[in-house]
Symmetry: C2
Subunit: 184 residues, 2 copies
Amino acid sequence: MLILLDQDGVLADFEGGFYAAWTARQHEFPAIPLEARRVFHLVAEYPPDLSELVMETYSAPGFFRDLKPIPGALDAIRDLLELGHDVRICTAPINQYRNCVPEKFEWVERHLGHEFTSRIVLTKDKTLVHGDVLVDDKPEVTGGIKPFWQHIVYDQPYNRHVAGPRLTWANWREVLGKISPAAG
Amino acid sequence: MLILLDQDGVLADFEGGFYAAWTARQHEFPAIPLEARRVFHLVAEYPPDLSELVMETYSAPGFFRDLKPIPGALDAIRDLLELGHDVRICTAPINQYRNCVPEKFEWVERHLGHEFTSRIVLTKDKTLVHGDVLVDDKPEVTGGIKPFWQHIVYDQPYNRHVAGPRLTWANWREVLGKISPAAG
């Protein structure tokens, strides 16, 4: 199968990185713990007058580069490749792309090696990208066209309202084992 | 139609930028003029002992950001959008991605506006990206799967051995007018 994996919230621990960075800045408003998160866009979880500060935090130099891998993610990628699947990283940059975009590549190079950077597909619109499945923590992945892939939700507290198969790096063998490759 | 446009050699004048940068460095070996270029990869056109210098030149900070638009390209994009086509920029980063990747975004922002950066699909493997046509100066565009798009060669001296429709920003209306959208 051609398997597209989202990067932030699936491979890279965006939430943990933000929690640590926000806490380190000692803002009066405390960081919201992952288990209390209810909406996908982190900025929408904080009071509107803090939006600028929230965006500044995750667009700061080094933020994306230094995110920790989500436990199990790197091993799962190696296992998927060994099982003969074609694995690509399909990731959307933030609007403030200047640090995010190269650092997404640096993150992949650091954790998966330089050659793996050739497997990155960086796009705001994932519907254009061909694959059998897209593993993504975003509750609804929409764009310009009807996608080819089946969206498999990577389980996170902020997407638990979505029905359908829910994948984690603990249960991925079972969840992906039930998927049939897309026709064509 | 969903039209994918390659960036370097189609929208951005990579060749002109390299010629100027190489000439400014006053190397003993002169820059090869565009009309004398015969192979797609510029590095292969220069003596092997200069490969490092060639790659250094086009991976230097500012190189991709400061490329001039190919004449007619920006007007053509505006016209294509006005005609109702969905236009995306489908571009492959160089292996030394650190400057190239964010600067490709900066180039698009500078010449087409920030919002247009959401139309960038950055990938080494363009076969994964859905489209009716891909306008690309690379003679053969290959990758992991059989592509959906029809490749239309953007005419450059180094791809004249390829048969089939050849597009320039002078004849694009005529060439694209003969294309029928892909099924599905």
